[in-house]
């Protein structure tokens, strides 16, 4: 048998096999090298573009007001690295609509780089260590900017003076001053709100008026929400309250940023306190009147439009569709208050300039452009992020967006508001969310005793903050 096989294989056939093997090895070598090259290119490409101007930009230029440096002699390309507006369609908006008017007006080109928080953090750290900064403007969430500022990587923006024709809500001003410097300029905000189908107002419980709910009065409490949902169920037979507790839903934000601050005054610190146990028992009771399909909802726009639920809580971007489709049916209302206040999450994105950035004057001009009220309205209309300047809301035309802006600004201005910020935990963020969801599943869905479930999870929760060495998020600290 073997002899026959040998005879059958000629040297030519063997040569063909060798060639095939060589080709296969070459192919493998190319594919394994491929990704490595890809990751290095985006890091490297910006540097040649900024190297030349870096040498020519006189570092000694006195910090004149931005208006005086308008004529740009040398062509400047700013590197704008942002963890926000990263999805493809949002990047297309930034590159095709948001930035071109700025370039036309000032002659400054902007290269927008959508980047993850981890990548941005690594890149900034290595640039700081190498002493060669290429990023001009950073767009990131408060938590990330807080971390950068704590490391001394950000420029104090107070030297540029204040921006003309705009005011920032006090809460945003306060948060943007970090570690003794003006660390960033508030850029955009986002939050989570309750949306009510106007039909639900026909079933308000005794003592609660439509005005209480819409204005966020002291009568609009979690107890009132429970009474309302109960009333709705008893009169219509419908479990009309809904939450996005599906696998991709944001229900964990409701737990750690709304219920926990409202009932315990903190997101993390009082995780297994008596107040927390009371809160979970409240949620257990409330869940009797919550649409059972909630654990499959990822976003509340569709359930609201289908009429499956009449009252829903979700991220503004995820209920936008319901309101734009039927603006006259829905109203956006502030969140109810609990025993410790009206806890809600405010997502703040800010714009910062790294220390030793190559073009600080031009970068400040970009920040000025991005925080103009009309630019902010453009962002709201296209991407759904809310403005960070008070003047912008006056520029929103009536219609669906106005419904949302009104609701959000009422929530921001309630006197008992207790702002919660999402902690900046990087890769551990998922685990943080998972702890609150696990507590919910075990206590509310499986009926376990909160006094037994919470201490076990609290240990995990504290471990995360220790591992990442992150500060507890407001309102905890």
């Amino acid at each position: 048998m073997a002899g026959r096989l040998n005879r059958a294989i000629t040297t030519t056939q063997a040569a063909v096999v060798i060639i095939i093997i060589i080709l296969a090895i070459v192919a493998v070598a190319i594919t394994t090298r491929g990704p490595g090259e890809e990751t290095t290119t985006p890091e490297e490409t910006p540097s040649p573009a900024v190297q030349t101007p870096e040498k020519t930009t006189p570092k000694t230029t006195p910090t004149t007001s931005p208006e005086e440096t308008t004529p740009v002699k040398k062509e400047v390309t700013l590197i704008f690295a942002s963890t926000q507006m990263v999805p493809v369609e949002e990047q297309a908006f930034v590159k095709n609509k948001l930035l071109p008017p700025f370039t036309q007006e000032t002659g400054i080109k902007v290269e927008f780089i959508g980047i993850s928080y981890e990548d941005l953090s690594t890149r900034l750290e290595s640039e700081m260590k190498a002493g060669k900064v290429t990023i001009d403007v950073i767009g990131d969430l408060h938590g990330g900017l807080d971390y950068f500022a704590s490391n001394g990587w950000l420029m104090d923006l107070s030297k540029f003076g204040s921006l003309p024709d705009r005011t920032f809500p006090k809460i945003l001003e306060d948060y943007s001053n970090l570690y003794g410097i003006k660390a960033y300029v508030p850029w955009m905000t986002a939050t989570y709100v309750f949306v009510v189908n106007k039909e639900a107002f026909n079933y308000l419980p005794e003592g609660l008026t439509m005005d209480d709910v819409i204005s966020g009065s002291s009568k609009w409490t979690y107890q009132a929400l429970l009474d309302w949902a109960k009333n709705l169920y008893e009169q219509t037979g419908k479990k009309a309250l809904g939450f996005p507790a599906g696998p991709k839903g944001l229900f964990h934000r409701f737990l750690h940023g709304y219920l926990y601050p409202s009932f315990t005054g903190a997101q993390v610190k009082n995780f297994d306190s008596q107040a927390a146990i009371d809160m979970w028992n409240y949620l257990k009771e409330l869940w009797n009147y919550v649409n059972p399909a909630s654990t499959t909802y990822d976003a509340m726009a569709d359930p609201l439009l289908r009429g499956d639920v009449l009252i829903a809580w979700d991220h503004t971007a995820r209920i936008k569709d319901a309101i734009t489709t039927k603006p006259e049916d829905f109203v956006v209302v502030p969140t109810p208050a609990g025993p410790k206040g009206r806890g809600y999450i405010l997502v703040i994105a800010g714009l910062a300039i790294p220390k030793n950035a190559p073009h600080p004057e031009e970068a400040w001009k970009l920040i000025e452009y991005l925080t103009r009220p009309e630019t902010q309205v453009m962002v709201l209309q296209n991407v759904g992020f809310f403005p960070s300047v008070n003047e912008a809301s006056g520029k929103v035309a009536t219609g669906p967006l106005k419904v949302m802006v009104d609701g959000v600004s009422k929530q921001l201005n309630t006197p008992d508001s207790l702002v919660a910020l999402i902690p900046s935990l990087g890769a551990k963020g998922g685990e943080f969310s998972s702890i609150y969801r696990t507590a919910f599943e075990k206590i509310v869905l499986e009926g376990q005793n909160p006094a037994e479930v919470l201490p076990v999870l609290a240990a995990d929760l504290n471990r995360i903050f220790e591992e990442v060495n992150a500060p507890l998020p407001p309102p905890d600290k």
Partner: protein, 286 residues
């Protein structure tokens, strides 16, 4: 250049070795490393997390994966066999039925999940039909954490509908290869329909059954898309947990461990099938 027979033999098996090394040995060693090593040192942290952490749904996922497999595979094998036997005889309209049975084969699991979700959801076709026929007043809720049994049922229905086709194709092809002489001989000797089935068709169909069962069992342990669409993490399964641990919690090691567990279960089932379903008659004659 002269090549000795030994060299030639090595050359000939080299491509297969390179292929297996690159696509099997390398990923497997990486998975083992991710699962059992942490910063270069041997560590059982991932196993401890898997069985001990309140965040882990391993035991539930293991139970549900086995349950779904144990329900789906017998049902779909029996159904596929019945349909294959039914279509073994030629009659008018046979081709049409054949195509209808095979259609789900062309649909991805996620698409199948979405189709059945839209049928079974509270505003879906099923509820609308039942309400318009006056059989029910309120829609029947199938999805949601309160309805685990209903969701499991929905998963079983979708999985059977989707994957029965592959079992059917294999069994149907196997039937075509059966020697009609044997069956005719049996008929001459007066064998009943049942006798023909149990003494001739089924024993000779063993190799096809074996292939179908191996393929389906391996895929059943990897079940993911259908469950993820229909039940999310309300019904956790092994592959779904691997995905969740990796993408949401960034626990690469735990995800790799899940992959290894799925591989280990699949391998042991494959081994059992090969052992128990060996077609002895055929081996003797060959």
């Amino acid at each position: 250049m002269r090549l000795t027979p030994k060299h030639k033999a090595f050359l000939l098996i080299a491509p297969a070795f390179i292929y297996m090394g690159f696509f099997i040995a390398y990923p497997l060693s990486e998975a083992i490393y991710l699962s059992f090593f942490e910063e270069g040192a041997l560590s059982l942290a991932n196993i401890r997390y898997l069985v001990g952490s309140p965040l882990s749904k391993f035991t539930e996922a293991f139970r549900y994966t086995l349950t779904i497999t144990a329900i789906v595979i017998p049902i779909e094998t029996a159904l596929a066999l019945l349909i294959a036997l039914f279509l073994y005889n030629s009659f008018k309209g046979r081709d049409l039925i054949l195509y209808m049975v095979i259609i789900p084969l062309t649909i991805s699991d996620v698409a199948a999940g979405l189709i059945w979700y839209s049928i079974l959801t509270s505003n879906g076709f099923m509820n609308n039909l039942l309400i318009s026929l006056g059989l029910i007043d309120q829609p029947i809720q199938v999805f949601g954490s309160e309805f685990k049994v209903r969701m499991l049922l929905a998963i079983v229905v979708t999985e059977v509908w989707r994957s029965m086709a592959i079992v059917f194709v294999i069994l149907f092809a196997g039937l075509q290869l059966l020697s009609r002489d044997l069956i005719e001989a049996a008929e001459v000797f007066g064998a009943s329909w049942m006798q023909k089935l149990t003494k001739i068709i089924l024993p000779m169909l063993k190799p096809s059954l074996q292939s179908a069962l191996i393929i389906r069992t391996l895929f059943a342990f990897q079940i993911f898309g259908v469950v993820w669409i229909l039940a999310g993490r309300n019904i956790p399964v092994l592959a779904g947990e691997a995905y969740y641990e990796l993408t949401e919690l960034r626990h690469e090691g735990v995800a790799a461990l899940y992959a290894l567990i799925i591989a280990a279960i699949s391998l042991s089932f494959g081994f059992i099938y090969i052992r128990t379903l060996r077609a002895r008659h055929l081996e003797v004659t060959l």
